[in-house]
Amino acid sequence: MFKYLMAKNEDIPSGASAVFFGFSAIIWFVIGTGLGSFNAAKLAFPDFVTGEIYFSFGHMRQVHVMAVIFGWISMAFAMAMMYITPALGNNKLWSEKLGIWNCMLWNIGLLVGLTVLWAGITSGREYSDFPWPVDLYLASFVFIPLGVNVWMTILNRRTQGIYTTNWFFAAATFMVIIVFLVGNSPEFFHLTGLTEAYLTWWFAHNVLGLWITPVAAAIAYYTIPKVTGNPLYSHRIGHLHFWSVVVFYSTPAAHHLMSAPLPEWLKSFASVEGVLILVPAIAFVSNIMLTMKGKWHMFVENIEVRFTITGCLMAIPLNMQGGFQQTRAINWYIHGTGWIVAHAHLALLGFSTFLEAAAVYLGLQTMMNRKLYSLKLANMHFWLLLVGFTTYWVSMTIAGLIQGAGKIYEVPYIDVVIAEHPYMIARWLGGTLVFTGNTMWLYNMWMTARKGTVIPAGRMPHELQYER
């Protein structure tokens, strides 16, 4: 890849930046889940690697979160954009060279940012932990170049109209820049007090609502019709999804601070808007499920469809939780407990990761013109992810309910810690399964690049038989 950094744009083969992004994403996924497993071990066994500043839980927790969000998830998005956007515009990526540079600067920035965080140099704000110079770097060299490339590709399309996936890509790449710059403004301008606290969660909410969720869904709008060969069930439901994301998902930031002394009108407003997130959620899931009509056998046979549909199915409990857990009626019980941690993993490791994994499987095979090396390994990857995640989610949900009960009955806190211990071990086991699955995936994709059967021109990867 590095040889293309100085090449002329015309000399860079199409898909080079997608492949670069794809492998970067998988490597960050391995690192991020490895750190997650390590952190979980420390919660289960507190004397596991102890008394060392750089292996202390408080130094490593945020590195896990930022590695999976800005390494794995966001880079998988970039990978999907690099190959889906031109495919849907019937043209080439506006600039492969910009894509390659974007990927390299992204990797460097993230590496520096995570190292700095690991050392304890943090803004002290959850999800916007990076110190402001790193934030400025990420805005300038990560999100703005990505947005420029996606927008220029869409604006120069050779089709009449824009397909659903590309509406979302265009809107999300624009919104994430705004969210990043506005959400970090407390650091740029030293805003303090409740304004700082609220903007911290405004950022956290919107980076999920206007970046991760819509882009993940947009990927499914491409993957399912493309691989099954069915047209999208309804363009209009797609419209409903898009507009309700913009209107309903951008407004409930305050529901993350339901028990903080924010203005009451703001919390009530956010809570109502939070229930309305069910509108885009139901529109999306039903649209994808109905697109599958007549092709459900592919849910079993095809690895990309299986990942995507599993992710979409997980969006159902995700949004049922998400819609209602933030209302005052329920939030008082589960706020700040492991329930929320389980919910966050259902969103990022369940719903969104499964959709992105499908996109990376499909994109890497398509862009490298190589059939997947091993279906067996891919199946192992799928089941390790699913079983590992489910173990994690179930154990953390139970732990959260125990914490909630401990909270309202005012049990001495140490008894809650004791009661949670078995679930902390289960959480660590689940996380370790996910990490193991990801290392297999990295090997599988590496072997696909090296030894996968060459796909003849004009064919899609899923049209060829699996060989192993």
């Binding site: 919660l43 002290g124 089709t159 409740l194 405004w202 028990s259 008082w332 909270k407």
Partner: protein, 318 residues
Amino acid sequence: MAGFREYKIGARIFGLALSGSMTITLFFPSINIASTASTDVALAKQLTVGHETGFNLDDPFLKGKNKPIVVNLKNDPKTGQPLAQQQTVFVYPAGAPFPAGILHPRILGTGVEELSVQQGHIEDARKEAGAVFALNKAVYQGKEVSYIEDLSTTKGWTPDDVLRVAKDEDVSHAGAGKTMFVREGCWWCHTLLPEETQDWQVFGAPPMQGDFNGESPTAFGSDRKAPDLLHVGSRNSSREWMMMHFFNPRLVQPHSIMPRFDYLWGEKDANGNKIDYPKWRQEYIEYREGKRVTPPEVPSYAKNSEIRSLIDFMLSLK
């Protein structure tokens, strides 16, 4: 270029929808929050922790540098004579950045701002010279209001004067301690936010809307895996207990899952002797396995160690 030719209306509605959303979720809340006057808690807190306890250019490595020092003043710094009444003062040595409320008195809120500027003379404080602040009370439009007074201007007390008469046990480095709290990620497990609905009895009163003016980061925490700490200093004020708990939490609470923060002791103990960590850990393992009757002694921390400021911060959380 195909542009957005088919989407002229859609593109406009998108802009309208997004700016509408930002107006409701950013503009309205910000004017609402900005209109809240500081409580006494907010005034004391921002003077205690100073300008910023996350990443900032005055303390880029989060070592607790350039932070204010809280002094429980017993003697007059000018004359050295005992004061009639002890007084808490917030000492900003030369070069330590002032908190947001001193730099932008407007954020203190109605009444507090006017009194702090007119009677407290906070606008006369100079960072290069350092300053000594204290809280005072006065009547504003018929109501008693707390405000910040710059004692360097009103009484001519300099940071050096105050620190000269203060004994070490009357000094708190809580500001540097909050930096440790942020850097070490204490807030990933310990919240600083008793919840409005049910935490009153165990963790104490939830904070008020005006309790945060000038504080950054607020570090509420979102994932409570351990007790809330907003009022921990009221529940437990034992330095001895805190010391053992930070060195190895399982000395005082066998079921604790908190990490050990023994590394915050640094190289040397209070007497300047090198701390032998491997020996301590070995003896602790022997104790845990039943080969020793008592655990090894926790070394006393040095006056300028990081753990000292962290414990000072814990005890300041009343």
